[in-house]
């Protein structure tokens, strides 16, 4: 293994872990908001896919990566608003609607892509990176870590913003209460429905941006079904992080490294079939669940619709 750990391999692995990890990070952070507020968001895979599609389309039509991310947020929020309507307001089964939204987003984006591009897959130009002075000069991993597209820094900064929000603000407390004891939140004069709606929409927007990152920065193209379980991995991250954003970051980097192992190994001159490598992140997820699944924690009111006055 010693010969594997060359500079080129390390650079490529770190770079890949970041690029593949950011969508997982955004999805995981988003899912965490929903789960804190008591909504198990199985539809997040669909929200990511809608974000990937609209994010790609916006970036492709306007040529602006930022409009691409805005499109991604819009796509994710659109799917999320359906979830708000049906799961938060009407109180329908979150799992059934989650499956439905994922299926629908898969079908619709595939059809939309077909009608617009038929069987072609137009490619976006590479994304500009932002080098952080001094830090990007660090040997070996400096440029891989600190010469990245700006969205990478924003996503990592979001981890700490959310950590602050959960710990020190009323909004964070409201979210927590909506998942732990919604009736208490209601009694305190805060609308559970509004808190949860906000949470699900935030999830949709973040997952959508994650999807847009996947399409615009990661791949540079949109392919139907391209999220390939990234949203579901986000759910696992949120479950294992036990409400702490920084653990989502660690998990996202770990699974991101697994996802990007193909390129890194090819750089190192080892040729492993893509399909074998594609199994890695899911093997990692299952291994982590076997090891720590018991310690995952979820809010008591997760998955239970809040009906005012109902016992």
């Amino acid at each position: 293994m010693g010969s594997l750990l060359t500079d080129a391999f390390l650079t490529s692995l770190v770079l890949g872990a970041l690029t593949a990890g950011v969508p997982l990070l955004l999805a995981g952070l988003g899912e965490q908001i929903s789960e804190k507020a008591g909504v198990l968001n199985i539809g997040i895979e669909g929200m990511m896919l809608a974000g990937a599609y609209l994010g790609f389309l916006a970036a492709f039509k306007t040529g602006s990566i930022w409009l691409g991310f805005a499109g991604g947020a819009l796509g994710g929020s659109l799917v999320a608003s359906l979830m708000v309507l049906m799961c938060v307001m009407l109180g329908l089964s979150q799992i059934v609607i989650g499956i439905a939204l994922t299926l629908g987003a898969e079908g619709l984006t595939a059809i939309l892509h077909h009608f617009q591009f038929s069987t072609t897959y137009p490619r976006l130009p590479g994304v500009e990176t932002l080098a952080i002075p001094l830090l990007s000069g660090i040997p070996v991993v400096g440029s891989a870590l600190f010469d990245r597209p700006p969205m990478v820094y924003l996503a990592v900064a979001l981890v700490f913003v959310l950590g602050f929000l959960y710990r020190y603000t009323n909004l964070g407390l409201d979210l927590q209460a909506a998942g732990d004891k919604p009736a208490a939140l209601d009694a305190a004069g805060v609308s559970v429905i509004r808190t949860r709606s906000f949470a699900v929409l935030a999830t949709g927007a973040l997952a959508g941006v994650g999807g847009a990152f996947l399409a615009d920065v990661g791949a540079g193209i949109f392919i139907p079904f391209m999220t390939n379980g990234a949203g579901f991995i986000g759910i696992v991250l949120a479950m294992l992080a036990r409400g702490r954003p920084v653990w989502v970051l660690y998990g996202a980097l770990l699974f991101g490294a697994c996802l990007s192992m193909t390129t890194a190994l090819q750089v190192a001159g080892v040729n492993v079939p893509t399909d074998v490598i594609q199994m890695l992140p899911f093997v990692a997820v299952m291994a982590v669940l076997v090891a720590f699944g018991r310690r995952a924690s979820l809010p008591p009111a997760l998955g239970v619709a809040y009906v005012r006055g109902a016992r």
């Binding site: 799992i95 759910i235 399909d275 074998v276 979820l298």
Partner: protein
Amino acid sequence: MTVDTLETPVEAQPGPPGRTGLLRTVAMTLGPVLAALAVSGAILLAFGVDPLEYYQAVLRRGLYSPSGIQETFTRMAPLLLLAASLIVAFRAGIWNLGGDGQFLLAAVIVAAAAPTLVAVMPAWAALTLCLLLGALVGAAWSLLPALLRAYQGVNEIITTLMMTFLGVSLANVLVKLVFLDPATTVPQTRTLPVADRLPKLFGTRISGGVVIGLVAVIAVHLVMTRTAFGLKLRVVGANTRAAIHAGLPVPRLMMAVFALSAALAGLAGAVEILGVEGNVRADWNPAFGLTVVPLVFLARFNGFAAIAFVFLFSVLSIGGESAARLLDVPNFFTLVVASVLLMLLAVAEYVGHRHRERTRA
């Protein structure tokens, strides 16, 4: 992980007896179906496709044409087995969403074993052995989620989905690297000769697999509704805590549910290979799994009703393939229909529930 708070698929509530009850059931069932077709039609219209023309094309191929209807019946085989798989799981309160992985891996293993087995034993023995093998592979692929759910309380929705992604990749690895047919240039397993496949029904081209599917779904229905074993599973599904207090061996029953459900999904894969495909090509994945979920909910977990809805969906599925070519609508449209159907079904349940409460008050 707190398991009890996570919502499990609840037992369908039987409507009030008598004619109004029957009428309500019919309305609650046909309403969402018609509404889903209308909403999906509106989506087609938005794409500039005439929905009436599309649905006509679907019916012309999937229902009215002699060869199409035979394909429809053949398509029912794997869907019925997947429906049976979901009925076992949902009635017992287990979300086995890993059907696609269980289906695909069983299909690949069976496709690899079948040509070898027919060479050394009579065809009927080889086919029986292959069906058992498929069921076994399916069950094996659910072992990890089952253990995690039964003994660690880890949410099975996530683990079964993860195992599906893993299974799809593993199936590809097996096809491309292990079971590759050296005689062809495209990566695929060796092909089971047509003569050795599941027998066709009465001189038609309908695969005998549909009989296996019908038997399975009816057997599952009877076991779940008419036997003590089924009652135990339903108690676990309705209220896990009560089941523990009643002294039921809940973890072991959960393991049994996973094994049964996944074995049926594996059997579906075996039937599709032995009856229709004959081999597995690289990257082949029909992904029937999640589209069967709305059908099973629509049937209120009733096996007989599931047969009817599987038939309708098979018409849509087979007809959709031909309509896709005629009208240039990708076949992913069936995903949209399944999605809209699931949502409207949930809305219909909500409206029905509100209506019952209001009439009671």
